[in-house]
């Protein structure tokens, strides 16, 4: 029997956003923190714009896979995908999501309509005990690179006291694992994510 706190996180986003890179970064952080970790990804096809899902299981799980109702936390890199992934959340779980919509083709063409942010918040709120929607793109740009928006979301998660390690460990991991030229923007992004949770 494992003594570690067991946690299951579901990541979802759109191809090209970097959600798999974010999953791997958090997994490396966990390993660095001495937490048992297994992550799972589904690499699909090369084309851009499809849904990309991944999972991270902390604290001694063996299976790299999640089913509906099993996730303690959802990390959504796009609000529509957060909503689509919501069935994975267990009742009372926690959601961290970007609030920046990336409309799929059918929406761009006006064939289908994108749910309003109010509707998304409401439907997420009906399942989650806590939910946070962050303007990741804007904060990422403010930090110096759009892609740093993913770090805003990860930092918010790390600062929330839900994980077996804190945002200080995540900061060290950024120092160790990121290439020099993107470090500054990501460290800035980390601050934004942390501040967001502090003021939430």
């Amino acid at each position: 029997m494992s003594a570690q706190k067991r946690l299951r996180i579901y990541f979802t986003g759109v191809g090209g956003q970097g959600s798999l890179t974010a999953t791997a970064l958090l997994a490396r952080t966990a390993l660095y923190a001495g937490v048992d970790v297994v992550a799972g990804e589904v690499h699909g096809m090369a084309q851009r714009g499809g849904v990309v899902e991944s999972v991270l299981l902390l604290g001694g799980w063996r299976s790299p896979k999640l089913e509906y109702g099993e996730a303690d936390i959802i990390l959504g890199f796009e609000p529509l995908e957060t909503l689509r992934g919501l069935p994975y959340l267990r009742k009372g779980g926690v959601v961290f999501s970007s609030s920046d919509a990336m409309p799929p083709v059918s929406v761009a063409l006006g064939v289908e309509s994108y749910p309003s942010m109010d509707e998304i918040r409401e439907r997420v709120g009906a399942v989650a005990s806590q939910s946070h929607f962050l303007p990741c793109r804007e904060l990422g740009m403010k930090a110096g690179a759009v892609q740093a928006g993913n770090t805003v979301l990860l930092a918010a998660l790390c600062a929330s006291n839900l994980l077996p390690f804190g945002v200080d460990v995540f900061e060290k991991a950024l120092q160790i694992f990121l290439p020099e030229k993107i470090k500054a923007a990501n460290l800035k992004a980390l601050e934004f994510g942390q501040d967001y949770i502090a003021n939430a």
Binding site: A46, P64, G69, L83, S106, G110, E112, P115, R123
Partner: protein, 617 residues
């Protein structure tokens, strides 16, 4: 730059993708030769070897043109004494089966490990065949890892066994294992790779004429008996017996072991069943399994897809006269799709007689979908549009495997049937033999080299009818842009050579050949129009690099973008019939998403009054 896979010392611990762990395992084993044909979920193995840059130094890597060739090259290398690894996705092993079924007879002294990456659950495949069947059919010792650590360790062990027995060994993974990440504790890298096994000329072993093969079949049987002895005591076959020695047991293989153990722990049932984990799964360790079942009343066998382990366990019980009741596939543990922790909770609850209320969770209904789609600026779309314009529903479209299979989607609708790689030409010409309609076959460059050339030669040889469109985008796009002979020389470097598709087509003997730019709509249409009025084998080569590859690897940014200059009927028609994903429509107003547009200029040719290209600003 140093990479831990290539330089990392023993006892270091790194987070690795399952496929990277296989690479590390092969390096620790001292692999000399790696061959492959890409295919999800196996591709990161060769792609990692390529990225590491050890090619020509620590090992020799090759992207072969198809799996049969990859297998034969690896068999040859292994016969010459090298430790060889050949990698492919599950369906690839069908292509490679012919040499494999006889290489097991000749035996391979250098040591050959065959990676078959299976795909239960259809994450990216046309079927979910279970390649453990090949272990049985061809007589291959088989390993099935369930974690990144095991992926490394079993790869290394597979090489040890392959060399010891001189028999090819199957490393059978599934998508979840290839694409999982986990901590991997390294072993040492070999001090020297100077350990080729010298080839001893011996046609009475290596040339399987019937008299030779007959003798070798016996040797194969003996070697498989030795393999069974290895399995009996393999550290990858372990049992967990709780102190109370319960009378119920579970036998599980591959990734299913993880779901079993997670389900037991989650429900607090760990001390209620004995568990036998099998990682080396062929030949079956019969004594180990019989010993495990000896005192048990009931056993549940857990595996994905076919009931192979289950049938084997039943046979062992029958042979040993054991009264144990064996359960396995059924309503909960189906032969379809993947197992999962909740599926195992359900199966174990039924097995233990525990209540299990199934939480029914509905997917969020009515959300706009994000289906995979050809990228904006994809060269395939332009050709499909032209084909539809010329032939409409009058032609039958014989498709093939690649990004272009997505041409099946409306409005392009350019795929009516498909079997496997290369079938566009051969099945297409077969269809045309019977149907009274023109058949247009679409085939990508990688697929053309894989198995299109033979079908083309056959169609010509037999005077068949078909219009073949080679969609030459200069890369193997679908699986992650691996090299193929159609790739331009600059990208192939000095270890691979570009082959010219047009010369090959003409060399085979096809005389009705046209070559156009995929983005030149008029030229594509004109060629197809001419072909429509001709008969026999006709080949159109439509060339233009994959948009994603051009941007990522060729460094071709879009200097221009399209914009809408007129609204109205003609614009709508273009949007509806060409359907570039860069098109937008808000409140009846059309526009182009500049972040997606590649400036390919095809929309301008479809509707010249509606679009224009402007400098990207």
């Amino acid at each position: 730059m140093s990479n831990p896979l290539l330089q990392g010392k023993g006892d270091e611990c790194h987070l690795l993708l399952g496929n990277e762990a296989i690479v590390r395992g092969a390096l620790e084993a001292g692999v000399h030769v790696v061959t492959c044909y890409p295919g999800t979920p196996s591709s990161e193995v060769p792609d990692t070897f390529r990225r590491l840059g050890g090619n020509g130094k620590q090992y020799t890597l090759q992207y072969s043109v198809n799996e049969k060739v990859a297998m034969e090259v690896a068999c040859g290398a292994s016969l010459a004494g090298a430790k060889a690894l050949v990698t492919m996705k599950h369906v690839g092993l069908n292509v490679a089966a012919d040499p494999l079924f006889t290489a097991t007879y000749t035996g391979l002294p250098g040591g050959l490990v065959v990676l078959s990456a299976d795909d239960p659950g259809f994450h990216s495949s046309q079927n979910e065949q279970d390649n453990r069947n090949y272990a049985r059919a061809a007589s291959l010792p088989c390993f099935e890892p369930s974690s990144a650590q095991e992926a490394k360790d079993m790869t290394k062990e597979a090489f040890r066994v392959a060399r010891e027995l001189e028999q090819p060994v199957l490393l059978r993974t599934t998508t979840r294992v290839n694409h999982m990440r986990g901590a991997v504790r390294f072993g040492d890298l070999p001090a020297s790779r100077d350990d080729l096994v010298e080839f001893k000329r011996n046609p009475l072993r290596h040339v399987p004429v019937p008299a030779v093969a007959k003798v070798r079949h016996k040797v194969l049987e003996e070697n498989m008996a030795r393999a069974q002895e290895i399995a009996e005591t393999s550290p990858f076959n372990v049992s967990h017996v709780p102190a109370a020695k319960p009378k119920l047991g579970v036998i599980a293989s591959g990734i299913s072991r993880s779901y079993v153990l997670d389900a037991l722990e989650e429900k607090g049932w760990s001390d209620r069943v004995c568990v036998l984990e099998l990682g080396m799964t062929w030949p079956l360790p019969e004594r180990l399994i019989a010993g495990f079942m000896g005192d048990l009343e009931r056993v549940l066998v857990v595996e994905e897809n076919d009931p192979l382990l289950e049938n084997g366990v039943r046979a062992i019980a029958q042979k040993k006269g054991l009264g144990v009741r064996i359960e396995g596939k059924g309503a909960i543990l189906t032969i379809q799709g993947e197992n999962s922790t909740p599926r195992l909770v359900q199966a174990l609850a039924a097995f233990l007689g525990e209540p299990c209320e199934e939480a029914v969770i509905e997917p969020a209904a009515n959300l706009p979908k994000r289906p995979p789609n050809l990228c904006a600026g994809c060269s395939h779309r332009a050709v499909f549009y032209a084909a539809r314009k010329i032939f409409g529903d009058d032609a039958i479209y014989s498709s093939d495997i690649g990004c272009y299979t997505l041409g099946m989607l409306p409005p392009l609708k350019c795929a009516d049937f498909l079997f496997c790689m290369g079938s566009s030409i051969s099945a297409g010409s077969g269809f045309a033999m019977v149907a009274k309609k023109p058949v247009v076959g679409f085939i990508g460059d990688s697929t053309f080299f894989h198995s299109g050339m033979t079908g083309l030669a056959n169609a010509l040889f037999n005077e068949m009818d078909i219009i073949v469109v080679v969609l030459d985008n200069g890369t193997t796009a679908m699986t992650g842009h691996q090299p193929n002979p159609g790739m331009i020389q600059e990208q192939l470097g000095d270890v691979m050579r570009h082959l010219d598709i047009e010369s090959i087509v003409r060399g085979i003997g096809v005389t009705q050949v046209r070559k156009v730019s995929s983005f030149n709509l008029r030229a594509v249409e004109k060629a197809l129009e001419e072909f429509r009025d001709m008969s026999g084998v006709r080949v159109l080569i439509a060339e233009e690099p994959c948009a994603l590859y051009a941007r990522r690897s060729l460094g071709k940014g879009a200097s221009r973008v399209a914009e809408v200059i007129a609204q109205g009927e003609e614009t709508k028609k273009c949007v509806d019939s060409f359907a570039c994903p860069a098109f937008c429509c808000q409140n009846g107003e059309y526009s182009v998403d500049k972040t997606l547009c590649t400036g390919c200029g095809v929309c301008l040719q479809v509707a010249p009054k509606s679009f224009r290209l402007v400098k990207r600003g």
